[in-house]
Structure formats: structure tokens, C-alpha cells
Amino acid sequence: MKEKKSIMDRIAESNKSVTTGIDEKDIKYWVTIYIMGKAYKVPDGLTIMQSMEFAGYRFVRSAGCRAGFCGACATVYRKAGDYKLQTAMACQTRVEEGMYLVQIPFAPAEKATYDINKEKYNIGVLFKHYPELARCLACNTCTKSCPQELEVMDYIQAAIKGDFKAVAEESFDCIQCGLCAIRCPAELVQYHIAQLARRMYGHYECHEPEHLKIRLKEIEKGKYKEDWNKLIKATVKELEKFYADREREPD
């Protein structure tokens, strides 16, 4: 008699498209893409990254978190018959018929070296470390290339005016993939400029809350020492009781 598959086996079976790779026989719809010029037939509905793997590419570079947070999989593509050069994160973009794809394995970019404690919190710090900031042509290519859809040019313009808060807030969701810098005709490295501006803003303008200062002093003075002596030696049974007796603060 054929043994019935366990639930765990059935789960493993149905998840296999993301755990062990896709089976060709399960695929109904196909598209043709061109990886660095070579044509491959791949299942429709995959990401660029998954479709390249399906085609036989094993990533060493250009793959990181696979969830849109790390910026490792910056990709440039053109679609057949279209003049437009487009940018994307390979792990977050659905593959489309006729994509001509190449990945950017590394973005050469100069990062300034500084000691955040010794810099002066004024507009000069950005120009001192990144004098090319003045070369911005306001062409908006950076904004168009941003896979996070940030207003990159706007925050660069804010940097030129020394508005740290605006740079910090508008650039906050940056994943530092480097596509803006690679496309910039003025050769700015927008994401490093933004990093410096955010740290300056955080360090000089976002002060330590009083409640944190107080807590640090309490710990330093050994306020909890006696309680710790008791708690650290508590048996599991005692801990269970302490745990059950905790009062939850109101919502």
C-alpha cells in the first residue's frame, strides 16, 4: 500500500519553488529573457534573481538579503524595442518578456573618512568631504534610477543648502545599492553624502532623552544590584512565579 504523505512532506513539496528550486513540469507560462545578451526561457512570475538561478546562474555577488533591504542586487536592463535604460533590484522585480539584463556586482565609490565627534555641524562639512556636491546638474537621473523611489535629487539639493534634517528624512529609506551614483553624470556618490548628513543630524540634533540618561545613571550607581543577586539565583519555579506576577502596563 502506498504510504500517505505526512503534512510536513506536503508542505515541503508545495514550498519547493523557493526552497529547492522550480520544477519545469509545474510551469505553465514562460518568458524569454536575455542575461548579458544570451537568451533563456524562464518561468513567468519569478523575480529577475530567481529566473537567473533557474537559467543556471549561481550568485556569489549580486545577491544578499533577497528581500529588498540590502541593495546587493542592483540591476540594469532594457526591454526589446525600448530606448530606456531601467534600473531595479533583482530580488524585488518580476521578470518580463524581452528583458536584456545585467547586474552591477560592485559600485566603485569613494567614501570620506571622518570622526563624527570632531566635525562641525554646518553646511561646510558636506562640501569639505564631498566637494563634488556642487557639481549637481539637477538632472534628476538619480531619482529616476532609485529602486526605493526616493526623491534623491531633492535631498541632494537640500544638502547643497545645508538642510540636514531634510536630507536625513528624505534619504532615510536608502538601501545604498549605488544605482544613483553609477548613473549620475556629475559623478556624485549620493548615498555616502546622505549617510554623512544623517549621522551629523542624528549626532548633533537628536539629543539623548532624559529617561535614558536617568536609567544609565541608575545602572552605573548599582540601583539594581540587590535585586539582581536574588533574581540571578532564582530557580525556574521561582522565575515562573515572578513571570506570572508581572503586571502588563496599560495599552
Partner: protein, 552 residues
């Protein structure tokens, strides 16, 4: 050859199923199924991957012989090394440093900075990465970092939350370190210029986390790990500390008398190896999500393949709590591009309801994570009321439009900007349509046993972050992982620096431990079929692999 037609981001048949959910929404608005009784919970938990029959076995060799672990992990512990003793020339030392750090996520990068603060010069610290510096689970942490810094809170309460959450299997002295240093870590982050969410009066914005009895979750929008790590990495780069990328450690080195003295590093691109000699070695290699334990999708990054546990175990390091795996109930199940990705618990706490394919609410939305996950599995695989995606995956709906119905229009944009951006990329509007979810493999609860200084039982070998065991017991709470990385990154950096100063002369380099381990494998009758660490998961198409000829 035709492309799939999408309507509102979903294929047509799924769209029809969504209409059923839309129809029942207003009826469900004020109704949640009641929470399960203790007995009901016990029964449904039999479907949880940690408790369901099978999937685990005893470790047959080494320090933890006889302990239970997931098959996927034991497979790697019972695997042969990537190198053979004779083929490695240990006489040519490429990097001769005081401190070698393996893994550049939040833990490893923090360790490097604090070792440098102890007076170890930047050219005597080497941080090596398998991928790019910063490619890690840390980068993806959305929810936040716990720190007890409000007047009604204390490290003691934080301690109890963490111990209870970990089923009291945590090491108390290690948890004490975690919670006591938490306010200090917040202070350090501010010094470095990290932007942590604030109230209008300048206080930290602090939110609930599952299993806590105080609001102590500090966030940086929904990009907490990204902000913490990019600031810390920027500081690391300013200090000119030695850093290698695409150079995983493939074996540790010992002096033959039980002390760790460095590692064999491998250039992923050219294929040659380098020898790094170090007085102290810190493992910060992260977890094992990409082993896809029991065939589950994962929230983890590409390199989360259990390397550190494998390498440390061969040197005689003790493991603990590797038998428990954290599954998060709500991983994305559609679209294909984001399967496994985390959809925060906060969605349910703000009103999103789990719903089956007939549009019925079937479970209390805020059961403990393991119970909630099991109920989803039951709905999909026992009651057959899940929704099957075009790639064959099953999931249940998470009815996100209820969030706006219950809390007002605009709530999703304000509270979940990152998630909204993610679904928008695939034309799904989570304000108007539900999203499909299924449990996802999230975290390695245990690992290489640590102590309050980040030390292991192997002299000269330190651990920090997800690779370590003892901090979270059998189950980690939200917001304690990024904290763990920074607290034990810092501590391991400091204590490794102190230890390095006591080491006289330069350590001998040998692969004695590996030789011994291979002998144990042979003695146990384990055939040389598997090799580890695996470094990266295998996702290439099967048809291509079947016809591959290895020439270059």
C-alpha cells in the same frame, strides 16, 4: 508562451477568491474567533514543524553527541570538511592579527569597533565576510530593538520577559548581560548618530513587542536593522579596520591543544585560500534560515547557512538549544518574489484578521506564534481551506483592509510604509485587498554556547549574535535579536581584546581538530557524501544542473 494576466496584482482566479473575502469583511469586522483552550492549543501544536513527528534526530558525534537537532543541522554536523589536511599550507600566513572576526552583520561589525576602542590597532583586527560587509539578517530587522529605559520599566522586568519567552532555558547570567547593557547600547547608537524614532518631546517612541509586559521596542521607522547597521558600518569604515568581502571562513585553525588560533579563508571568486592567524577569533556568522528546515520558506538572507555552528563544533565547541527553530506565522506566501518575507505581527495587533478561502475567520488573531502558525497549517493542509498560488504554495489570507476600517484611513501608510512599498511593487494594494500568508522560518534560537563575555568553551573562540546559544533559550522575543548582536558584539569585542593581550607569542596553526573530527566521522560509519559548511544554498534550475559539466 504567454504571460500571466494580473488583476490588482493577483492572477484572475485568486482575484475571484479575494471577492469572497471582501464579501464577508463587514460581517467579520467585530468578530474574532475565541482564543483556544489549553487542550485545543496542545492538539493543534502537533502540526507545528518543531513538534510534528519526524524532522529531527540525534547528533551522533562530538560534544553534543546524543542531543537532538533538526535533520538539516545534524546533516551538516555529520558532514566532512571542504578541505583535506595535507592540501593546506599553514606555513604561509597571509593575515597575522590580534582579532579575527568572521561575519560582518551587526554583531561582527560592533565587535570590531569595540575591540578597536580597547586599543587594538585597526590593522590588527580583520573582519571577513562571506558576502558584502553588511549583507546579513541584521539588515532586514524591521520591528525594533528592546531596551528598558522608561521610568516604569527596568532591566529586571526585561529579564523576566526574556526568560519566560525562552521557556527558562536561557542562561540567566547571559540574559542579565543582554538586558543590563541595553540602555548603554541605545546611548552608543545616539553617539554614532543613529536616528531612532522619537515622540514630539524628544523621548524615544516605544512600542509593544510580543511577550513583553512593557513597551520597550525602539524602532527606526520599519528599517530598524538597516539604520543601526549602516551607521555602525560607516563608523567601522572611518576607522580603517581591515575588511575582506567574499572571503568566508571554511575551517577554523587551532594550536592542537584546544585553543583557536585563526581560520582558513576562501576567496569565493578566485577559489584560492588565505591563512589568517589570530590571538582571538570571534564568530558572528548568523543563523541557518537558508537550510529551509522541514521545507519551509525563510525570512533569512542568502548566506544564512549555519556555517559558524559547523566550524565551531569541529573545534570542540559546545552547542545548546539547537533543537528549536522559530517560525513566524505570517510570512508572505504571494507573490512569488517575496515568499517567506516577514509580515510583522503588528498587522494583526492592529486588526488584520486571518481568513480562509471561504472568507471565514478561523483563528484568534493573536495566539502565541507557535499556536497561530499551527492553526494556519491546519487550515491549509488538514481542512483544505487554504489558497493555492500559481507556484503551488498554500496560504491563508491576512485581511489587511480591516486595519483601515478599524483604525481609519491612512493608517497603513503611516504605520507600515516599508510593507506598503513592498506590495506596491507588485501592484497589490494591501489597503484594499488582503495579502496571502504562510508560516516562515525566522530564527535559530540556539547555537554555540556563550557566556556573559561572549566566550565559548574553546579558548580563544568567542561568539556573538544569532550563531550563539544561551541568550534566548528555546524561543527569542521580538526586539532581542538586534539587541543581542550589539550587546554581545560589544562584549565579545572587548573581552577578545583583553584576552588577546594575555596571549604570549604567536599561536601554532594546525588542523589537528579537523583531523580528529574526520576520524570520529569515519568511526561512526558516516560516509563522505556530505561536505560542510555549504556557504550558499542551491537554487539553480534542476534541468540545468542535470546537464552541467564541470570543466573550469
Amino acid at each position: 508562451m504567454s504571460e500571466i494576466k494580473y488583476i490588482r496584482g493577483y492572477p484572475e482566479y485568486m482575484c475571484k477568491l479575494i471577492n469572497i473575502v471582501n464579501k464577508t469583511r463587514m460581517k467579520r469586522k467585530d468578530y474574532d474567533p475565541p482564543a483556544m483552550s489549553k487542550e485545543e492549543r496542545k492538539e493543534v501544536l502537533n502540526l507545528h514543524p518543531d513538534y510534528a513527528h519526524g524532522g529531527k534526530r540525534k547528533i551522533s558525534i562530538g560534544q553534543n553527541k546524543g542531543d537532538i537537532g533538526p535533520n538539516e543541522v545534524v546533516d551538516l554536523l555529520e558532514a566532512y570538511p571542504l578541505i583535506e589536511e595535507g592540501e593546506i599550507d599553514l606555513s604561509q600566513i597571509d593575515y597575522d592579527v590580534d582579532i579575527l572576526i568572521i561575519g560582518g552583520g551587526l554583531a561582527g561589525t560592533t565587535a570590531a569597533i569595540w575591540a578597536n576602542d580597547q586599543g587594538v590597532s585597526p590593522d590588527k583586527i580583520l573582519l571577513t565576510n562571506k558576502l558584502r560587509h553588511g549583507d546579513s539578517n541584521s539588515m532586514m530587522a524591521e520591528g525594533g530593538t528592546q531596551a528598558a529605559d522608561r521610568p516604569n520599566d527596568s532591566p529586571l522586568i526585561h529579564f523576566l520577559d526574556a526568560m519566560g519567552g525562552g521557556h527558562y532555558a536561557n542562561k540567566p547570567d547571559v540574559v542579565k548581560g543582554l538586558v543590563e547593557d541595553a540602555p548603554l547600547i541605545m546611548h552608543w547608537l545616539l553617539e554614532l548618530g543613529a536616528m531612532i524614532d522619537r515622540e514630539e518631546n524628544g523621548d524615544f517612541t516605544e512600542k509593544w513587542g510580543g511577550g513583553t509586559c512593557r513597551k520597550r521596542m525602539h524602532a527606526c521607522r520599519d528599517y530598524t536593522g538597516l539604520e543601526e547597521l549602516r551607521v555602525i558600518r560607516d563608523e567601522f569604515r572611518n576607522r580603517k579596520i581591515l575588511c575582506l568581502e567574499y572571503y568566508p571562513a571554511i575551517e577554523l585553525l587551532t594550536d592542537g591543544e584546544g585553543r583557536a588560533t585563526g581560520a582558513v579563508l576562501w576567496n569565493c571568486e578566485t577559489g584560492d585560500y588565505k591563512i589568517a592567524r589570530a590571538k582571538a577569533t570571534i564568530l558572528a556568522t548568523g543563523g541557518f534560515g537558508r537550510l529551509h528546515i522541514r521545507g519551509f520558506p525563510t525570512t533569512n538572507h542568502y548566506g544564512a547557512t549555519c556555517d559558524g555552528v559547523v566550524l565551531a563544533y569541529r573545534t570542540g565547541a559546545k552547542l545548546r538549544d539547537v533543537d528549536t527553530v522559530q517560525y513566524h506565522p505570517t510570512g508572505a506566501a504571494y507573490p512569488q518574489q517575496i515568499i517567506g518575507l516577514l509580515l510583522t505581527e503588528k498587522l494583526r495587533s492592529m486588526g488584520a484578521q486571518p481568513v480562509n478561502k471561504d472568507g471565514e475567520a478561523f483563528v484568534f488573531p493573536l495566539e502565541p506564534r507557535d499556536v497561530e502558525a499551527s492553526a494556519f497549517i491546519r487550515e491549509c493542509y488538514v481542512r483544505e481551506k487554504g489558497v493555492t498560488t500559481p507556484t503551488g504554495m498554500r496560504g491563508i489570507w491576512l485581511d489587511t483592509p480591516l486595519i483601515e476600517i478599524k483604525n481609519g484611513e491612512g493608517t497603513i501608510d503611516n504605520a507600515f510604509p516599508g510593507m506598503r512599498r513592498m506590495f506596491n511593487r507588485f501592484d497589490i494594494d494591501m489597503r484594499k485587498d488582503p495579502v496571502l500568508v504562510f508560516p516562515t522560518l525566522h530564527y535559530q534560537n540556539g547555537g554555540v554556547e556563550t557566556d556573559p563575555e561572549g566566550k565559548t568553551n574553546v579558548q580563544g573562540l568567542f561568539v556573538a549574535g544569532e550563531v550563539s546559544g544561551g541568550v534566548h533559550g528555546k524561543n527569542r522575543l521580538m526586539g532581542n535579536s538586534t539587541l543581542d548582536c550589539m550587546v554581545y558584539g560589544r562584549r565579545s569585542g572587548i573581552y577578545a581584546a583583553k584576552y588577546a593581550k594575555t596571549v604570549k607569542g604567536r599561536g601554532k596553526l594546525s588542523l589537528e581538530h579537523m583531523k580528529k573530527y574526520v576520524n570520529m566521522l569515519k568511526k561512526a560509519g558516516i560516509k563522505p557524501e556530505r561536505r560542510a559548511p555549504i556557504l550558499l544554498p542551491e537554487y539553480r534550475g534542476k534541468a540545468v544542473l542535470a546537464r552541467m559539466i564541470d570543466i573550469f
